[in-house]
Subunit: 377 residues, 2 copies
């Protein structure tokens, strides 16, 4: 249990203050005070909160019936005295990765609300709360997925029929069975159809046409879709991507696919786009962040080996951007002094420090200004 | 667009106030001030916000693989100086029914946060963000569902191939195409398997074991599941149900099923339970709220006719409870002076007045006290 602040009986004596004074206090509290590293459990002052559908289409039949479908679903919180550019947090496996840690600490939603950023958490079409698709959807449970998730998220090793073994120093409360239970319930079905890349980019483009220019925050499978969105919509003003796996490259620069030394599986680097399309990625600041347990050379551990290979692709992607005058940076957390981070680093025990690395990027790239004129939904 | 409060430059000058003073101002603002009918667009002060999985099970195979699945998904906001009993808002078709109105006004989440209630919005297993089920799930899009939804939600009539025609005086911005577009994107796939009643009740029982005693707020299809939960968990301390369709009755008191005068379809009343089980419903206050466009006698309009029949069942259900010394009340909004309300009354233009009827019930039944000791998640 976290400490929970109980103001008690003082409350009723002071709410008669003039609204403008109260608002000033509120906005100061959520904005600069949080940035200055104040008590993280202080209240969050929400100016606006809600949810809506974005994008989508409508289909019809000969009888004149229609169906509105294939929209996305956004949930948003706007703090008082907010910064100009919202953060669009785009998950790969579940919005819980942005909404809450499995052991009850703040996740990036709360951390960045406290820093004054409007936060939108989205479900893309045919997933989660945007399940009202235009096409049939099927989900089949996969027994053994617990073990696969545990290893691909680089918590450690969990052999079939055995016990979970954590990597040494992992940033997780490894002795807390409730933590693991929550983690193993973190997913919901994804849309991994390769056609979904442009489809989802178009969906988020519709979102940005509604909420205005934004910074995309992607993770894992949503990484590639963030690149495609930035090549589709001029309203993407920056991207922070946590362990993206797949990339786009200019013609002739697609890296050779590499086979996993753990299981022989080919890990795909992505695909090529035209020079003109690729150059759109040079117009915005991009930060890619990778965690720990990424070996220097081939490894027989499938999760680490996969990440090692995608890091090779990520570095080639960043070089292609920067060779063209772009502004992309690659952060390996261990080189910043952060150890033990997993593929779910936004939920790790030191997620506040991971957030600071992202916040520092937003500040350096002037993506945290309060002056961006925005038309919020 | 709603008016959005922009405190501007006064903010930075005042955040140096001592935390206790700030907290006192904050809690006063969200608590009593909102109850006193202050400006509804004032900020909401959130003490804690997050999400988590609840309930669920784990399945395994002969190879030793496992899968954690069939959990629910809760999103919560705890306001400062909160009341003791959380409101668990349990949707039938989509959490948007509690999260936000399609035209951008506050929904019940914001309205009741402003009144000081902790609010939990839940997706039940195999739906929405709780899609990681233990069984296969299939969704098939139904063209024509727009028209069926429009009529069953009692917005009016929408013949196949024609235009939507609203009922006169309906509490909706009928000239706003964006409103209708949002409404028609409000759903996501439901689990309407009859076995789901006890399954979902067990799931919510697990939630209440985690968050403590609560008031259930149900709607339409979740109505019956609320009754079953109250017969399963002693932690249900009250229920507000908006247009529930199906009920439980003591042995021998199941009403005869009635056929719709619109289409001949049999509208089921529910099923019987033992006298002992049914009497559990007499231990808590229950409020059932029904909107407008419910005819007095048989009607050829399918939506209104269906509601007319379920109202007959609802009245029998309430009588069975009160005959046994229980405390159930039935509210027809037109008799309270509210006209034009639909099946989605929590999103209607006068949803603030609908909320007041619920808030009044919570107050009369002493479900709004700040003294209920609770162990929040």
């Amino acid at each position: 249990m976290q400490f929970r602040f109980r103001p008690g009986t003082i409350a009723t004596s002071s709410f008669a203050l003039a609204p403008i004074v109260i608002a000033a206090v509120l906005s100061g509290l959520t904005g600069e005070a949080a940035l200055a590293g104040g008590n993280k459990r202080q209240p969050i002052v929400i100016e606006d909160q809600g949810a809506f559908a974005f994008g989508g289409t409508s289909i019809s039949n000969a009888a004149g019936g229609t169906l509105h479908c294939d929209h996305g679903y956004a949930q948003y919180n706007i703090p008082a005295n907010e910064r100009g550019l919202p953060l669009v947090m785009w998950h790969s496996a579940s919005s819980i990765t942005w909404e809450h840690t499995p052991d009850g600490r703040d996740a990036f939603q709360q951390i960045f609300l406290r820093k004054g950023f409007p936060v939108y958490i989205i479900d893309l079409p045919r997933q989660g709360k945007a399940g009202w698709g235009c096409t049939p959807l099927n989900y089949t449970p996969e027994i053994g997925r617990d073990q696969a998730t545990f290893e691909s998220w680089r918590f450690g090793l969990w052999p079939l029929g055995g016990e979970p073994n954590f990597f040494p120093g992992v940033q997780a409360p490894t002795r807390d069975p409730k933590w693991l239970d929550q983690m193993l319930r973190a997913r919901y079905p994804e849309d991994n159809n390769p056609d979904a890349d442009q489809f989802e980019a178009d969906s988020v483009t519709a979102l940005l046409n509604k909420i205005g220019s934004s910074v995309l925050v992607t993770h894992s499978g949503s990484g590639v879709r963030g690149w495609v969105t930035a090549m589709t919509s001029p309203k993407v003003k920056g991207i922070v991507s946590f362990e993206p796996s797949v990339f786009r490259f200019p013609e002739g620069e697609l890296p050779a696919p590499i086979a996993s030394a753990a299981n022989g599986q080919i890990i795909p680097p992505g695909s090529e786009v035209s020079e003109a399309e690729f150059r759109r990625l040079t117009r915005i600041p991009i930060q890619i962040i990778v965690g720990d347990y990424v070996p220097d050379g081939p490894s027989t551990l499938a999760g680490p080996e996969r990440r090692r290979i995608t890091v090779i692709y990520a570095k080639a992607f960043i070089k292609a951007i920067n060779d063209r005058g772009g502004d992309a940076e690659f952060v390996e957390l261990p080189k910043k002094g952060l150890r033990g981070n997993t593929h779910l680093m936004m939920l790790d025990l030191n997620n506040d420090k991971v957030a600071e690395i992202m916040a520092d990027f937003l500040k350096r790239k002037r993506l945290d200004k309060r002056s961006h004129p925005q038309g919020h939904f």
